[in-house]
C-alpha cells in the first residue's frame, strides 16, 4: 500500500512583532492507509498546527506534505479546498456543526459540496447516521443534541464522503470521559469495519491507550513514534 500522508521536515514559524514562535521545528511523519494514529503531547507542542498543515488548511514555513499522492505545496487555494472536500474529513474540537442545519443536513454538507445527487446523499447519510448511533435523530438541530451526539454528527459528516483520511483535533476534549470512550469506540469501529484512516490529536490518556500508533510531539518536534505508550520515551 502506498503511503497516504508523507510530511517531510515540516517547520512552521509564527511571527508577530519580531517575536518568532517556532511551532514546528522539522517534523517528518508518514501515515499508511488504514492507520489509527494519535498525536500526543503537551499543549502548545504543535499538534493542531501539524494537523492543519496535513489537512491543507495551513501551509508549512518549510518542508513538503503529500496527501494521497498530491503535493500540497504545489496546490493553490482552490485546489486545496477541493482536496479537503474530496479527500479529507475534519472533526474539530467542539461547536463545529452549523447550528441552522439539522443533523442530516450537517452530515450531508460535504456531499452537497461534492454535488452528490440528493437521493444518493440521503441514502448514504441515513446509513452513516445510523452507524454513528443517531438513527431517528436525523431531523434534530444541534441544540437539540447532547455534546456527544453533536460530535457523532461531526464524525458522520467527516466519514460520509468516504475520505482517504480523517483528521480530528482533540475530538473528545469537550465531552466527559464516558462519552469520549464511546466516541473513540465509534472511530475505532469505523477504522476497523470501513478502513477509514484516522489521525487525531489528544491528551486524553484513555484515548492514548487505545490508539494503535502514538506520535509524541514536544516543542514542535517528534519526540517519539510507536505502537504504545511504552514505546515512547519521556511520557
Amino acid at each position: 500500500m502506498s503511503t497516504l500522508v508523507k510530511a517531510t521536515d515540516i517547520t512552521k514559524d509564527y511571527g508577530q512583532d519580531g517575536v518568532v514562535t517556532h511551532a514546528l521545528r522539522g517534523v517528518s511523519l508518514s501515515l499508511q492507509p488504514g492507520e489509527f494514529a494519535a498525536m500526543v503531547g503537551p499543549s502548545g507542542s504543535g499538534k493542531s498546527t501539524l494537523l492543519n498543515i496535513i489537512g491543507g488548511l495551513d501551509r508549512p514555513t518549510s518542508g513538503t506534505v503529500e496527501v494521497d499522492g498530491q503535493r500540497l505545496n504545489d496546490l493553490g487555494k482552490s485546489a486545496l479546498g477541493e482536496l479537503r472536500r474530496d479527500h479529507i474529513g475534519f472533526i474539530f474540537q467542539s461547536y463545529n456543526l452549523l447550528p441552522v442545519l439539522t443533523a442530516r443536513e450537517n452530515a450531508e454538507y460535504v456531499l452537497r459540496l461534492q454535488g452528490v445527487p440528493a437521493a444518493e446523499r440521503r441514502r448514504r447519510v441515513t446509513e452513516v447516521l445510523a452507524e454513528v448511533g443517531l438513527a431517528g435523530m436525523e431531523d434534530r438541530f444541534p441544540r437539540q443534541l447532547s455534546g456527544g451526539q453533536q460530535q457523532r454528527v461531526a464524525i458522520a459528516r467527516a466519514v460520509a464522503p468516504e475520505p482517504a483520511l480523517v483528521l480530528a483535533d482533540e475530538p473528545t476534549a469537550n465531552v466527559d470521559s464516558k462519552t469520549g470512550q464511546s466516541l473513540l469506540d465509534l472511530m475505532l469501529r469505523l477504522n476497523q469495519d470501513k478502513g477509514v484512516t484516522f489521525l487525531f490529536s489528544t491528551h486524553d490518556p484513555a484515548v492514548m491507550q487505545r490508539a494503535r500508533r502514538l506520535i509524541l510531539l514536544k516543542d514542535g518536534e517528534v519526540a517519539g513514534d510507536g505502537e504504545g505508550l511504552e514505546d515512547i520515551d519521556g511520557v
Partner: protein
C-alpha cells in the same frame, strides 16, 4: 436544504435585528415610492396642464416662423400633418396668427389674433373648457371672438360687446371688421391672458385676406405617445419645416422639470442609501457573529463563491421582503393618492411657477417610472450593499476563523 432555505433560517437567528432591518427597508421603500408617485403626478399634471390647454406636446411651424413671426411664413402642407396625426389617433389643431388692433369705444389694445378651427381645438385641447363668461367659438364662422381675460379687461369688453379689429392684411391693405365678443377666457397663462383674440379660421382668412395660411399645427396625444415618437411623426409629415416640442417652447419649465427630476434622484438616493446601509450593517453583524461557521465550511471545502452566494442569498431575502412589503404599502398609499389626491387648496389655489400651472388637488401618478424604478433601484442597491460583507466572509482564513470563538 437549498441555499435559500438555509439563508432563511440564518436570517431568523436574530429575529429582532432582522425585523428592524426589514422595517427600515420597507419604510424607506414606502416613502420613496409614495414621494416618487406624488412628484411624478405633480410633473405629469403640470405638463398636462400646460400642453393640454393649447400648447400641445409637439408643434410644427414653417422654417423661421418662430424667429420673426412673419405672417408670410406659413406651413407648406398643413393638411398632411393633420392627416398623419389623425391616422395615429393624435389630436391636432391648425392655427393662424396675426397681430392686430382691437378697439371698443374709446379703448383699444394690441391683440394677437388666433385663427382657429374650433372643432379641432375641442377635440385636441382643453382651451374651450376654460371659458369664464359666455361660450367658446362655434364650429361655423360667425364673426365672433373669444378674448383673453386681461385683454377683455383692458378693452372693458363684455360678452355681447362688438369689437373693431384692425390688421395689416396679407395684401398690405388695412383689414378691419367688427367681431362680437361671445366669450371671455379664464386665466390661461400670461401669453393667452394678455392678448389672445380667438376667431374662427374662416373669419380670420377673410379679415387678413390670408388665403388660409396656417402658421402652426399643434399636436397633442395627451401623454399617450412618447414625446420623441410624436415629434418624429410630425417631422415625417412636415419635411423641411420646423418641429418643436413643449420643452423647446417652454425651456424654463422644461429646465425646471429636469432640475426637479435630478433633485428627486438625489432625494431618492438618500433613502436608498439609508436602507442599504442599514442592511449592510445587519449583514456585517451577521457575518461577524458567524466567523467560526464560515471557517468550518471553508475547511470542509466550500468555495469562496459558495460563501458569497450564502451571504448575498440572505441579503436578497431581506431586500426582497423589505422592498416587497414597502412596495405593497407604497402601492396602496399611492393608489389612494391617485384617486383622492392631496387637497392643497387651503394652501394655494391653482398656482403657476415657471410657466407651469399646478392643480389645487395634488394627485399621484402610478407608472413604471414613478413606482417600479425606485423599487427596483432600492432592491438592487440593497443587494449591492451585501456584497461587502459577503466578500469579507469569503476571504476569511479558515484556521483563524475556526480558532475564534
Amino acid at each position: 436544504m437549498n441555499t435559500l432555505r438555509v439563508a432563511w433560517r440564518n436570517l431568523w437567528r436574530n429575529r429582532r435585528r432582522t425585523l428592524v432591518t426589514l422595517a427600515a427597508v420597507s419604510v424607506c421603500t414606502l416613502i420613496l415610492t409614495v414621494i416618487y408617485c406624488l412628484m411624478e403626478g405633480l410633473m405629469v399634471g403640470a405638463v398636462a396642464n400646460t400642453t393640454n390647454l393649447s400648447l400641445g406636446e409637439v408643434q410644427v411651424y414653417a422654417k423661421g416662423y418662430r424667429h420673426d413671426r412673419s405672417f408670410y411664413k406659413a406651413l407648406k402642407d398643413p393638411g398632411a400633418i393633420l392627416a398623419a396625426a389623425s391616422a395615429a389617433g393624435v389630436g391636432a389643431a391648425p392655427r393662424s396668427y396675426s397681430f392686430g388692433l382691437a378697439a371698443l369705444g374709446a379703448k383699444s389694445s394690441g391683440a394677437r389674433l388666433w385663427g382657429i378651427d374650433p372643432a379641432a381645438e375641442r377635440a385636441a385641447f382643453d382651451l374651450y373648457r376654460h371659458v369664464a363668461q359666455g361660450r367658446f367659438l362655434g364650429d361655423r364662422p360667425e364673426k365672433a371672438v373669444v378674448l383673453g381675460y386681461k385683454l377683455a379687461k383692458s378693452l372693458e369688453a363684455r360678452v355681447g360687446s362688438t369689437l373693431v379689429v384692425v390688421v395689416q392684411a396679407a395684401d398690405g391693405s388695412l383689414g378691419n371688421d367688427l367681431f362680437k365678443v361671445v366669450g371671455i377666457l379664464k386665466s390661461c397663462g400670461a401669453a393667452i391672458d394678455r392678448n389672445a383674440a380667438l376667431v374662427h379660421r374662416a373669419d380670420f382668412a377673410e379679415l387678413l385676406v390670408s388665403g388660409g395660411r396656417i402658421h402652426e399645427v399643434a399636436l397633442n396625444s395627451r401623454g399617450r405617445m412618447p414625446l420623441e415618437k410624436l415629434r418624429a411623426l410630425a417631422a415625417a409629415a412636415a419635411p423641411g419645416q420646423e418641429v418643436t416640442t413643449w420643452r423647446v417652447i417652454m425651456p424654463a419649465a422644461s429646465d425646471m422639470l429636469n432640475v426637479w427630476d435630478s433633485m428627486m434622484w438625489l432625494f431618492g438616493l438618500v433613502f436608498i442609501l439609508a436602507a442599504a446601509l442599514g442592511l449592510m450593517n445587519t449583514m456585517l453583524m451577521a457575518t461577524f457573529e458567524r466567523i467560526r461557521e464560515f471557517g468550518i465550511i471553508r475547511a470542509l471545502g466550500a468555495t469562496t463563491w459558495r460563501i458569497l452566494a450564502d451571504v448575498t442569498g440572505e441579503a436578497m431575502i431581506l431586500s426582497l421582503l423589505g422592498t416587497g412589503l414597502g412596495a405593497l404599502l407604497g402601492l396602496a398609499v399611492s393608489q389612494y393618492l391617485v384617486v383622492h389626491g392631496l387637497d392643497m387648496s387651503s394652501l394655494a389655489g391653482s398656482y403657476s411657477v415657471g410657466g407651469l400651472t399646478f392643480d389645487p388637488v395634488w394627485r399621484a401618478t402610478l407608472s413604471l417610472r414613478s413606482f417600479l424604478e425606485p423599487v427596483l433601484l432600492m432592491f438592487g442597491v440593497c443587494l449591492l450593499a451585501s456584497i461587502y460583507p459577503a466578500i469579507l466572509a469569503a476571504r476569511l482564513d479558515p484556521v483563524r476563523a475556526i480558532n475564534r470563538v
